[in-house]
Amino acid sequence: MQRPEIKDLLKRYLAGTCTLAERALVERWYMQFNEDSKDKDISEERLIEMGKEIRNALSLQEAVVGTRRRWLVRTAIAAAVFASLLGTIFFTVYFPAVNRQTARVTLDTIAPIHSLRHNTLTINGRLQIDLDSAGDGVIADGDGFEVVKLGPGRLMYRRKGKDLGKGERLSHMISTPKGSNQYEIKLSDDTKVWLGAASTLILSPIDFALKRSVSMSGEAYFEVFKDRGRPFSVHAGSQHIEVLGTHFNVESYRERQWTRTTLLEGALRIKSVKSAILRPGEQAESDARHLTVKKADTDEVTAWRKDEYIFRNERLSNVMLKLERWYDIDVEYRTPDRAEIILGGSISRGDRLEDVLKVLGLTGNVNFRLEGKKVIVR
């Protein structure tokens, strides 16, 4: 075989277009390649050192167990008041340098399609509790904590007694399904978290008591209780967010590679591929390789908290991503470039999907067909 053919073989192997025999050749060669070479000698200490460097770059979350601390339990409960549903959808559509249309439609306030799936609390990945059908009151305890259901869509963590549990840590995962209303969780430090539809919050009650750290995916709004002695941190996609006491919104969808954090109040530090400090009104967007900070429209970002969704100069694919979560639908693009259309407008939680699609369709250049739970975009 000639050298260029070898390079070509590797490329075809990676593209998955080589023959089975070629695949076997590459894999067998690779397995033995350099195995007996003297160049491969590297000390154990050096490998451990490299491992630590990567660990820092990934900002891994190590479980903390064992230490017991006493502290005050604050029990004040504040109810969240949400704005009532609006019955108007308003869209402006921008086709880049083509034409501009506006459509305005008034609709009755009819609830979106509700999912049969439920809000759940999963403990240690094994015990799953249906939060919707559970009665109010204590629904789980362990590790010296109680989980209390306060009513539909509201949960509270509370310390039970003075001592923490015996140093074991349970993993709690709260998940909202597609189509879910926002779910409010009050953590044991009085921090409040609102989870959007199809989102997940993960914490260990004991670890949380010690170092106020949670992970999440989907969309969540945080009102962090100020405690200078104990910073609060959130892991979301490619970001590690450190705060003292602030209000901020995080979007980290599994369908997208990016994570976006928008700060409303206070200050926070984002650790990702690099570090950045956010000021109010700023948004940090990151993926595996980049982190950028820019000014953001905070009304737009937090509109979901008022059961609205506002978008300006947003790609249709991002608009549909929200609709998928709100209405529990799947979207299929028959004409791929439609996903790139830029739109602006707002949707209220109560709007019927059919009507939302009708209005989006009125803006031209795109057609929707609803087949059961699937929306076909043409």
């Binding site: 260029p4 490299m50 660990r55 009665g135």
Partner: protein
């Protein structure tokens, strides 16, 4: 000590898919050393080896829900590392490239007829096993603890802060209380093999 080191690879994968960051950390603890050593062996360059492993773990988290259909975590991580390294090889300059020379030599002496998918998988498993056996003692212990598998009754009892005999009774009680409280209570209750 965190108890995550006692979860099997399979359990960690499930937890990872559910975005459990501690499971992610445990996977890192369990595999980073082997993968770094492997990447260094093949690449002979510390910076490149570090980049490969770091990128692998960043992607593991980012793609935890979409692409992680692998039942075999070790196999998945090795294959992902291999692809990344082969990609580096494929883009090296042809001149002064002993990687391509080595593959060329190997190809000319190659006489294997067996190209079966399962045979290749077995060869990879055997390769990984050899890597595990060659690990420094402390690293190997981390790995082997996890192979012993599931928690014992006593450990679950400790985890739930109660006595062993109480575990199943408490679970049953919990379900009964919850049933009383609701009309249409749905609980999916399963504890793997252990109870």
């Amino acid at each position: 000590m965190t108890r995550y080191n006692r979860y099997s690879d399979e359990e960690l994968l499930k937890m990872l898919k559910a975005s459990d960051h501690y499971a992610y950390t445990e996977i890192y603890n369990r595999y980073h050393y082997m993968l770094l050593q492997h990447a260094y062996t093949k690449l002979g360059d510390e910076e490149q080896a570090k980049d490969v492993v770091q990128e692998l773990f960043v992607n593991l988290w980012l793609r935890r829900e979409n692409e992680m259909n692998a039942a075999n975590l070790a196999g998945y991580l090795y294959k992902a590392t291999r692809n990344k390294i082969l990609d580096i090889f494929a883009h090296q300059k042809v001149r002064e490239n002993h990687v391509q020379a080595s593959l060329n030599d190997f190809a000319s002496n190659y006489s294997y007829a067996d190209t079966d998918h399962l045979v290749l998988e077995k060869e990879l498993s055997a390769y990984i096993e050899r890597q595990v056996q060659a690990l420094p003692r402390k690293m190997r212990e981390i790995y082997e603890l996890s192979r012993k598998g599931h928690y014992s009754h006593r450990e679950i009892a400790e985890m739930l802060n109660t006595s062993e005999a109480n575990v199943s009774k408490q679970m049953t009680n919990a379900i009964r209380i919850l049933r009383k409280k609701t009309d249409t209570f749905i609980i999916i209750y399963f504890i793997y093999n252990s109870l």
